[in-house]
Structure formats: C-alpha cells, structure tokens
C-alpha cells in the first residue's frame, strides 16, 4: 500500500490529540473561530436576501421618487452618472501617474518616494474626511454647491490611489522584453507606452478601475455633504450642479427616516448584488490576466 505511508488515519489523529491537549485546544480554537466567521457570513447573506427579495417590487423602479413611493430608480441612475463622472476624472489621472511612475521616473528618485507616500496616505484617509474636504473645497471655496460635480470630484480623489496602485502593478508586470522589442523596431518611448505596454496591461488596469467602481457605489459618508441627498435625476443645462443622491445615500436616508424599512431591505439587496457583481467581475478579469 503506497499511499498509506504518508496518510494518518482518523484514529491516529485522535490518539495524537489525546497525547497533546495543547494541540487539541488550538485545533478547537481554529475550528470554532472559522465556524463563527462562516456563520456570520451565511447569516448576513441569507438574512438580507430572504428579507429583501420579497420586497423588491416594480414600484421601486418607477421613474419618480415621492414620499408615497420611495422609488430607488433616480438614485440608481444617479449612481451610474456619478460613477461615470468620477471615473472620467480618476481613471486617466491614475493611469497616467502610474505610467509616469513605472515608465518615466528614475528609480529611487525623491519625487517618486513622495508620490508613493502621498498615495498611501490618501488610501488611508477615512471617507468622512474626504467628504469634509469636498465640502470645504469643491462645495464652498469653488462654489459648486452640493452637486454631482462636487461629489464626483471628491470620489475621484478617493479612488485615485486604488487606480494608481493597481495600474502600477499591471504596468510593472509587462515584461521588459516587450519594451526592448518595440525600441529595437525603432518606436519612440510614447509609441511604446501606448501601443505596446498599455494594451498588455489593460486587464490589470481594468480590474483596478472596476474595484474603484465598487467603492464608488458603496460610498456614503463622502457624498452626504458633497452631493447632497436630493432624490431626483439631474436634468437641464446645469445638471452637473444639481444635488443628487446615490443608491448608498438613498439607503442611508431610508434607514435614518425609519419609515421605509421594507424598501430599505430591498435597497440593501440591490446594493449588495451590484457591489458583489462588480467585485466578482474585477477578480474574474484579474484572474484571466494571470492565466494568460
């Protein structure tokens, strides 16, 4: 019997634990903790789903929000607009700065260090501090008021470090031979970056951008005082300066008003599903990248 040499039978295991109570104790600690984690996870998931799904009604998706029908449609559309705007700002800046850090900057220069430290600092700042900064700078100093624009600028600063870091990693993962091959064929630096390096780094960058979307969708604290809480789809010429609420802010408003618990359940499910799909999609792309 070849396989039995390295296999320990159940009985042997029990005997080993009998001889060493400490090992048994540690083993039990590990198992109990894992069971606690899994139980919390399952409970949270199923509770929200079971309570929420029956409350998802067609009325929730009606075009207009009113106190009689707290439709989440305007908030959903605002979330999409807010996401697109924030990405329009954050994605180019984040990707370009990653390009600078990886392709242009001299290794170990002081400036690069400062950029790294500031990016790390940014990623640690709590969202309420971003919200307050947005209120002081975009809303008050620049005079944009509580608006779509103030909100998306605030969010774009918030997700900038995330996009920077993931893009940087994606660019670094492109083998140097690609660049050398491109130079060898007579291409300049810029052409090499845009034609050779960026296309091969796209999946990694995309994974980071999608993670950024997930953060935008889930964000509340940074938006309450920068984009406000008006539950209407911005329209007209100055729509960028209209106050809006995203789905997360909508959810917070519903819970704090305390009158619309059922709708809050439904909104929780929808938020949960959106964010989960986004995160899943991101890791799917990232996995595909590492395979190829």
């Amino acid at each position: 019997m070849m396989e039995s040499i390295n296999k320990i039978t159940f009985k042997q295991k029990i005997n080993a634990y009998k001889r060493s109570p400490l090992s048994l104790f540690l083993f039990l600690l590990v198992i109990v903790s894992t069971i606690v984690t899994v139980a919390i996870l399952l409970f949270l998931f199923f509770y929200i789903m079971i309570k929420g799904i029956p409350n998802i009604t067609p009325e929730l998706f009606e075009w207009k929000y009113s106190t009689l029908n707290v439709s989440l449609m305007p908030a959903l559309i605002n979330t999409i607009i807010m996401t697109v705007l924030s990405l329009l700002i954050a994605a180019p800046v984040g990707i370009f700065s990653a390009i600078y850090l990886v392709e242009y900057a001299k290794r170990g220069s002081k400036l690069v260090n400062v950029i790294r430290i500031t990016a790390e600092t940014l990623s640690g700042i709590p969202s309420i501090v971003y919200g307050l900064f947005g209120l002081l700078f975009f809303v008050t100093t620049l005079g944009w008021g509580m608006s779509l624009l103030s909100g998306s600028f605030t969010l774009s600063i918030m997700i900038l470090p995330l996009i920077m870091r993931t893009s940087e990693e994606a660019l670094k993962a492109v083998p140097d031979s690609y660049r050398e091959g491109s130079y060898g064929l007579g291409a300049g630096k810029l052409r090499t970056v845009f034609r050779i390096v960026l296309p091969s780094a796209i999946p990694g960058i995309l994974a980071g951008v999608i993670l950024g979307i997930g953060r935008i969708v889930g964000e509340t604290a940074a938006l309450i005082y920068t984009a406000g809480t008006v539950a209407e789809i911005p329209s007209g010429k100055d729509f960028l300066f209209d106050s809006t609420r995203t789905l997360s802010v909508h959810m917070y408003a519903l819970t704090s008003e305390g009158l619309y618990v059922n709708q809050a359940y439904a909104t929780a499910v929808i938020l949960f599903i959106i964010v989960t799909l986004i995160n899943w999609f991101s890791s799917f792309i990232a996995k595909k990248m590492t395979k190829s």
Binding site: S23, L26, A105, P126, A221
Partner: protein
C-alpha cells in the same frame, strides 16, 4: 515627434503630482479651518474638555468624549475581531480542504465588498434588537458598535494574515514537524511567529478601518455626546460627531467639527506611519 513626446511627458508628470496636490489641499483646508478653532476654544479645552454642548450659552466644545468613544469602540472591535480573524486565517492557510477553500475564499472577499451602509442596516435590525433583548436599554451601545465593526474588519484581517502565513516558507513548517511538533504546534509556534509582521499589518489595517468607519457606527452606536459610561451605554465617535452635526453647524461650531476631523486625520496619520514602519521591518 519630439514635441509630442515632451508634452506627454509633462502630462504624465502632472498626473503623478495630483496625489501630492490632493494631500496638500486636504491638509491645507482641514488645518486652515480647524487649527484656528482649536486655538479659539483652547487646545486643552478642546482635546480634553469633557462636555460637548455647542448649543449652550456659552457653548462648550470638548471632544474628549468622542476621542474616548473612538478609542473604546476601536479597542472593542479589535478584541473581538482580531482573534477570530487570525484563527480563521490559520484555518484558511493550514486546514482548509481545497474544495471548501474554493467556496470560502470568494465568500470572505464578498464580505469585504459589502458597503458600510448595508452593514449598518444589518446591525440596526439584527444586532441592536439582540443586545436590547439580552441586556435591556435601547440596544444602541458601545458593545453593539464593537460587534458590528469586528464583523466589518474580519475580511481584512483574514485576507492579509492569510497571505502573511502563506508567505512563510514551507520548510519552516516542515522543520517543526520534523522536530516532532504536531500540526498545531508547528503552525502556532513556528509559522505564525515567522508571519508576525504581516499579521501585525493586518491588525493595524483593521484598526485604521474601524477608526475611519462612519455610517455603520452612526446607525448602531446611539451617538450620545457624553463620556463613555459603559459597554451597554451609547457612545459617539469622532466620525459620527462630524456627520451628525455638520448639516446644521455654523461659525465656531462648524470649525470645531472641522477640528474634530483634524484630530481624526492625525490618528490616521499615526496609523499610516505604523504601517510603513511595519512594512519596512517586513523587508
């Protein structure tokens, strides 16, 4: 052609400087608005004052209750969340069968992605009534907030410590076994000490998340602006103080709230410093 290269070079450079600009602007706006208020109130009265009554005449702006609130809630969440998180990470790294791992890993990542409002809502409808039924009172308390935040930091702690444990070379573990240690002894007394700095990073990251958490805390902590009076009494954290009162605050009150954010910001800077020290040591 050369011309285009130069322009793009400058654009890339400018983009890279955005994060410096952003940090500078955030510091500038917070400090310019917050520091004078601190000076006006008196640094000691502000930081160590035990009453926060901005509507009184004369008003008193002491944020010591909120500082202690944040510290207590953070400590509570750490005490509850860290052991469970690290032990689960040990399970993931050293016990988990492959098939289970394929389900458990994405499930824990899923937990990490849930927005904090959803957590807050969950805390409000599940944990608050549980605490109310078990211990009486309103159920909105330091304990409730600690439990909820402990749940929220679990995925961070599990994920980071798991990769720290997995980064320890396999021969450490095998060496332990070869010396006659059991699987548990080898994991706990050889592998985990070797992964110490990675696990510490996980803990510090978790603490950073708890201190900065806002929406979930507001929904379950009760938010009374007084000195924390016990596990089952309501508390208000620094973050909650800002969100709750910023909507209607004016003048010095508003500036005092911004100064609250400055204090929070300093806390976060200290945590970031700790993190970079840990990273340097790991290298």
């Amino acid at each position: 052609m050369k011309y285009k290269e130069k322009i793009m070079n400058i654009i890339f450079f400018a983009a890279a400087c955005t994060s410096i600009l952003a940090v500078a602007l955030i510091c500038l706006f917070l400090f310019v608005n917050g520091i004078p208020a601190m000076a006006k109130i008196g640094v000691f009265d502000f930081l160590l004052g035990k009453t926060w009554k901005p509507n009184n005449i004369p008003p008193s702006y002491g944020i010591f209750p909120m500082i202690m609130g944040s510290i207590y809630v953070t400590a509570g969440a750490t005490i509850l969340g860290v052991p469970i998180g690290i032990l689960t990470a040990v399970f993931m790294a050293g016990y988990c069968p492959k098939g289970l791992y394929r389900i458990l890993k994405p499930a824990i990542n899923l937990l990490a992605g849930i927005p904090s409002v959803v957590y807050g809502f969950f805390g409000l409808i599940i944990i608050v009534p549980l605490i109310r039924d078990a211990f009486g009172g309103t159920g909105m308390s330091m304990l409730t907030a600690s439990i909820l935040l402990a749940i929220m930091i679990l995925p961070t702690i599990i994920g980071v410590s798991e990769s720290a444990i997995k980064a320890v070379p396999q021969n450490y573990y095998e060496g332990g076994l070869a010396l006659g240690a059991s699987h548990e002894r080898s994991m706990f007394f050889v592998v985990i000490p070797a992964a110490k700095s990675g696990i510490m990073t996980a803990v510090v990251l978790g603490i950073g998340r708890v201190i900065g958490e806002t929406m979930a805390v507001i929904m379950v902590a009760g938010n009374q602006p007084r000195m924390p009076a016990g596990l089952l009494k309501g508390v208000r954290t620094l973050t909650a103080n800002i969100v709750i009162e910023m909507g209607y605050a004016a003048d010095l009150h508003r500036e005092a709230l911004i100064a609250t954010a400055v204090v929070l910001f300093v806390f976060i800077l200290i945590i970031n410093l700790l993190l970079s020290l840990l990273k340097r040591r790991a290298k």
